[in-house]
């Protein structure tokens, strides 16, 4: 350390282990972390789909129909199914993280994590319901 600590000038022979490249595959909690991080790829891939949808919308009814047909490609459906699971995983881990980042206090006592996360889930349901309503409303 800086001037404040006088450590030995004789450096003994320490043994150092290197973290293996596949460190995250060794333990379930690390793997979960890696999967959570990879959910971002599916977030991005959905945005690409959204951009294609906007492009198709701009291209007129036929182009849009073609886009809708393309979405029915079984391979794409499978990929989207996997993607859906990943973004769901993202949403759940994200909402559960909020109470960590914000220590919400009520009358001096810190609220339990569940209570802080609960409004997230309520809002999530509401937003999802609103979107379904907007899209499915007849006429």
């Amino acid at each position: 350390m800086k001037p404040s600590t006088a450590y030995s000038q004789y450096h003994p022979k320490w043994y150092r282990t290197r973290v293996s490249t596949l460190w995250w595959s060794r333990k379930w909690s690390y793997l979960k972390f890696m999967l959570r991080e990879l959910s971002s790829v599916f977030v991005a891939s959905y945005i690409v789909i959204l951009l294609l949808q906007l492009h198709a919308l701009g291209g007129g009814p036929e182009a849009y129909l073609e886009f809708q047909q393309w979405l029915k490609d079984p391979l794409l459906v499978i990929l989207n199914g996997i993607g859906f699971l990943f973004v769901l995983f993202h949403a759940v881990t994200w909402f559960n993280l909020t109470p960590k980042a914000m220590a919400v206090r009520l009358r001096g006592k810190r609220l339990p994590d569940v209570l802080v996360a609960a409004p997230n889930y309520a809002a999530w349901l509401a937003v999802s319901a609103l979107i379904v309503f907007l899209l499915m409303r007849q006429g």
Binding site: S4, A6, Y10, P12
Partner: protein, 594 residues
Amino acid sequence: MIDSLSTEMPSHDVLLVGGGGAGLRAAIAVSEVDPDLSVAVVSKVYPMRSHTVSAEGGSAAVIKEGDSLDEHAYDTISGGDWMCDQDAVELFVNEAPREMLQLEHWGCPWSREPDGRVAVRPFGGMKKERTWYAADKTGFHMLHALFQTSLKYRSIARYDEWFVTRLLVEDGRVQGVVAIELMTGRIQAITAKSVILCTGGCGKVFPFTTNANIKNGDGMSLAYRAGVPLKDMEFVQYHPTGLPFTGILITEASRAEGGFLLNKDGYRYLQDYDLGTPQPKPVLRSMELGPRDRLSQAFMKELDKGRTLEGPYGPYVHLDLTHLGRKIIDTKLPFVRELCLKYENIDPVSQLIPVRPVVHYMMGGVHTDIRGATPLDGLFAAGEVACVSINGANRLGSNSLTELLVFGARAGQAAAEHALQDKPLSTGIEAQAADEKKRLEREFLHKTGGTESIADLRREMQATMEKSAGIYRTGALLEEAQASVAELKERFGRVAIQDHSHTFNTELTAALELSYMLDVAEAVVECALHRTESRGAHQRIDFPQRDDERFLAHSLVSHRPGDRPKVEYLPVTITRWPPGERVYGRPATDAPRG
């Protein structure tokens, strides 16, 4: 092989042996006297591992309305069975509030009143509520606050995990130490103008103790070997409530918050031992809030009457916290609950805690004056390693944490002033250090063919001490112990060392620690044998009365190589409180009016 004695000796103005509460407080005190003085903290463990970390209940200082310094002094003196030096106690209670407030300013997370002032709790032997606390991890928080604050001072250099083996003394003054750097095995002399011993106590001399593994009386032995007398070594405190197998401390605060001690019949047995009458709520200086010596002695008498319980690790009684309720336990005693759940698999909210007396604290130690100075020029001591003495024959709970602040600071100041005198290093120091290196190699590092095992010797020593120098003692048993310890010391000369490596050799340190403990054991037994009276924590079955005529005096035991130690006496300093009867649980006649 590396050449393990470097020719260049690092040099400092003040060197501390030990980096616990007292050591860190002293280090900061030196820096405050003069930031240009270089301070070295030499510790066999990283400072935040020191045993201060384990203190639980609290730290006493007068802060509240309705309390007074005189009452704190009186409680301390009567608690110590009039063996305390009263000038030291007065100074101690005077400086205690300032030191505690200073620690508050350094960030110690004291528990608080709703209005933001520090909270206090009752404690054993204290007539007023004056024990500051940080839930039930007071020592932990104090140590970490001190350690973290010490990081701010550039002049404090740390030698973490350096094990001191000898004080360098030449021309009648201490001039440094020899230490082993554990990481490399390098044996190194470090010189200094003042040396402060802050190595803590020696609970590991006994088998059942709340003390950590590192508490081996290192500093006591270093001083003893350097010719400095140890004071009042016969006074060993048993804490009445430790967990049976591990010796883990269940804090006195659990009784202060209202816990009961129950024998096997569920009876609050303390009422049979002149400690007052049972009340549902805790009463100060009464029953469970009596002093530790009296409570531990009551346990032994219950044991004699066959009214204790018997478990796989010996006899025990019950500590009952169930009537306190979960809320009090979780806010005031969370660590007690954590420890019971973890180590006994019981929940104090609904279950009784098995407890027994365990060795907790050494009232005695290196003889110092009220500045922390020992009779050896340049050598100071503070904290549990020292005997100032404010604890007399029995320390009151929550005085020790305060003591390490008050006398840590005082020793730091005195050592700094001493260092400013700037005497030159004696020429013989280097040769002495070289001799010490040779001794370590001859006796341990290069030694082959030993026959005695460190663990066996240690276990025999502990068993001897428990049997002869425990809560109750007799002359016959102490004489036996005297012979046993002498024999153990002789056998230690044939100790086997399998490990001859330099890197982090913990077999070497275990052997050195055992040699320190044997010195302490010798001192304890010798003093206990000479004190033919009963006082505080020293109870002689063959001499059951207190004898103020002959023994209102500190014992001073000095090392004589190749011979029995020498025991002398030094009168106790009495200023305003003449010796009287120790009264708990009923009104006393000579107590100051509160």
